[in-house]
């Protein structure tokens, strides 16, 4: 009772990275809260699935295994979660901010009348005082996220409603094995008690799921462009530089919205979070929602003709210049001097 839950997503029998990242974060939050970390897995053919989850620190794995529960469909999955939560009364529930978590989370929060915060970039435990009522709440979950297009950072709490729910994008938290020999309990749920026939009203006719070809998270070098790159043509310069020095091309939201680059390359709060050893920010002004997704890069180079661009403050090198001017020079030097 009153534990911390992580909803684990499954694709082809594999627990997704974002769920493992949340288990890692959930483990440390549960230690602070002195409660158990519990995982919920909903799908089919889940025998042995706990072996992927318990090493990340889960004390209990609730498994809802039924042929009808894969692939994901909103109503049956939310029924499992809603009914289980009514029994278990968790204090916190974390979900990936994926197309599954962002579909399931709000449905469940509405049914339980519990607060949900989307796309958190940090989660902490702390106290909260409601000054008007003179009431102090101990050990709440601080759900921290950039808001308002990334111009401010908001700290959100859910003082009275449980569970406190939050979604987090892939890559925001770090995945770390807790203990390879951690002991956890497996609880198999009697699915028929949790879902009803009327939950199966949406039929999946076709499904084409492909792993994204772009792997920004794994690339040691990222050349990212913002609105200041100016055009789709200029973005090709970034492609050239990335191809030359062995990196991937990323983009800010403004560049994606302007059609310079694809959504799968978006870095930031509503895109991917990256930690490369070199991040070259080209024509990126540096709104907090972008910074949130790249500030842990080891070395940051900012190429910008606006000396006041906020991103320059967190850059190790600032080049005052335009992308058209600077990038060809970088390529030229590298081609001449690399072995």
């Amino acid at each position: 009772m009153n534990n911390l839950f992580v909803y684990c997503e499954i694709e082809d029998g594999i627990v997704s990275d974002v769920s493992l990242e949340l288990l890692t974060k959930g483990r440390s939050l549960a230690n602070q809260l002195k409660c158990k970390l519990e995982a919920l897995v909903v799908g089919s053919n889940l025998d042995g699935i706990e072996s992927q989850i318990i090493p990340y620190g889960a004390d209990t794995v609730f498994v809802a295994d039924d042929a009808r529960l894969y692939p994901f469909s909103t109503l049956p999955h939310s029924s499992v979660m809603i009914n289980l939560f009514k029994e278990q009364q968790p204090q916190v529930c974390l979900l990936g901010a994926t197309s599954i978590g962002r579909d399931l989370g709000p449905r469940v929060s509405s049914a339980l009348h519990s607060g949900l915060t989307a796309d958190c970039t940090a989660l902490e435990i702390g106290d909260h005082e409601e000054k008007k009522e003179g009431k102090v709440y101990k050990n709440l979950l601080y759900q921290i996220r950039p808001a308002f297009g990334g111009n401010i950072v908001a700290w959100i709490v859910n003082p009275d409603c449980r569970p406190q729910m939050a979604t987090v994008r892939e890559g925001v938290m770090k995945k770390e094995l807790y203990k390879p020999n951690h002991k956890g309990e497996v609880v198999k749920l009697d699915v028929s008690k949790y879902v009803s026939k009327t939950d199966f009203v949406i039929d999946i006719i076709e499904r084409h799921i492909e792993k994204s070809k772009v792997n920004l998270k794994a690339s040691p070098i990222i050349v990212a462009g913002g609105y200041g790159v100016g055009s789709k043509e200029n973005f090709k310069l970034l492609d050239d530089l990335a191809a030359t020095i062995g990196g991937e091309v990323g983009a800010s939201r403004a560049a994606v919205d302007a059609g310079y680059s694809d959504h799968e390359r978006q870095i930031g709060q509503t895109g991917v979070t990256v930690r490369p050893k070199l991040y070259i920010a080209c024509g990126i002004s540096g709104q907090i929602q972008h910074i949130a997704g790249m500030q842990e890069s080891a070395i940051i180079i900012s190429i910008n003709n606006d000396e006041q661009a906020p991103i320059n403050q967190i850059a190790d090198y600032v080049i005052n210049g335009t992308v058209e001017d600077v990038i060809p020079k970088m390529i030229k030097y590298y081609k001449k001097n690399s072995k």
Binding site: H113, H128, A154, I156, S212, I245, D316, Y333, N337
Partner: protein, 290 residues
């Protein structure tokens, strides 16, 4: 078959074009400096509704928007592009609502609007990016949701077949109406305003707008009743005051921080050949690249 369609739309500050004066010195948002626009993905939603209407003669589209008085602009914009009518849900009591209190209020208004087959809204609004209100409205109404919709492929036997655009692929699903769709930005762009409809509806006003106008519109609105835009408050939709606005919101904002970056000591370079060559030399030497 003809469909009764409701489109949920929101007026949002244009956070994509935030200028330098968008933040006040004290770190709060200067809303006055941001233009108010039709939430982009709600326009994609409206377009899906208009296509459904074209393909299913006799269908009707009504917009529902919640916001301050000026959000009546959203209803007019919808009328200009082909909607049949709309409702502005406005009341001081709605202020400060989080997504759950918002979806409660919208669900109350939808019940009041009467029977419907499809509710269509954008996946998310650009001022919050939460993507929560659509699914929460569906839950409150007890109907299924299809999120991330990109295209309604067919309407047959009371069922909608919908293509969904997910982060890792596409899915085609089918469900029986009534249901709620949230539409992705990758769906068709909304058609522009229709000039004749702009002429027809440009004086359409809510009751508050009429009261605040300096001109007496009584005769015009008597002869052209379609110019009357519906405006509802908490009492009109039989909403429970405790469940709307700030008091109906489980989430509370503990604090808002202006963004302060931890400034690093940095090296500022020019774009001269010399500076770039030095930088590249250093990056290759210390094995950052190459």
């Amino acid at each position: 078959m003809s469909l009764k369609i409701i489109v949920l739309a929101k007026q949002v500050p244009d956070t994509r074009n935030v200028g330098k004066d968008a933040m006040k010195a004290d770190g709060t948002v200067n809303r006055a400096a941001l233009p108010a626009i039709f939430n982009p993905e709600d326009l994609n939603a409206l377009e899906q509704a208009l296509q459904l209407k074209e393909n299913n003669p006799g269908s009707t589209i009504h917009l529902l928007t919640m916001g301050p008085g000026r959000a009546a602009e959203i209803i007019r914009e919808g009328l200009y592009r082909g909607a049949d009518g709309g409702v502005l849900l406005t009341d001081r009591a709605f202020a400060g609502a989080d997504t759950l209190a918002t979806s409660y209020a919208l669900a109350c208004a939808i019940r009041k609007m009467g029977a419907y087959d499809v509710i269509i809204c954008g996946r998310q609004a650009i001022d919050g990016d939460t993507a929560q209100v659509g699914p929460q409205v569906a839950e409150k109404l007890g109907i299924p949701q299809i999120t991330y919709a990109e295209e309604v492929q067919t309407v047959k036997g009371g069922k909608l077949r919908v293509k969904r655009r997910l982060e890792s692929g596409v899915e085609v699903v089918e469900g029986k109406m009534p249901l709620l769709l949230t539409v992705n930005g990758s769906a068709d762009d909304c058609r522009p305003r229709n000039a004749k409809r702009v002429m027809k509806y440009k004086y359409a006003k809510t009751i508050t707008e009429k009261q605040n106008a300096n001109v007496d519109y009584t005769d015009m609105f008597d002869s052209r009743p379609y110019l009357n835009l519906v405006e509802w408050g908490v009492a009109d939709v039989n909403a429970d005051l405790v469940q709307v606005g700030l008091s109906g919101s489980p989430t509370k904002v503990k604090k808002i921080e202006n963004v302060v970056f931890q400034a690093k000591e940095n090296l500022v370079l020019s774009s001269s050949d010399l500076d770039i060559d030095h930088l590249m030399f250093e990056l290759i030497e210390n094995h950052t690249i190459g």
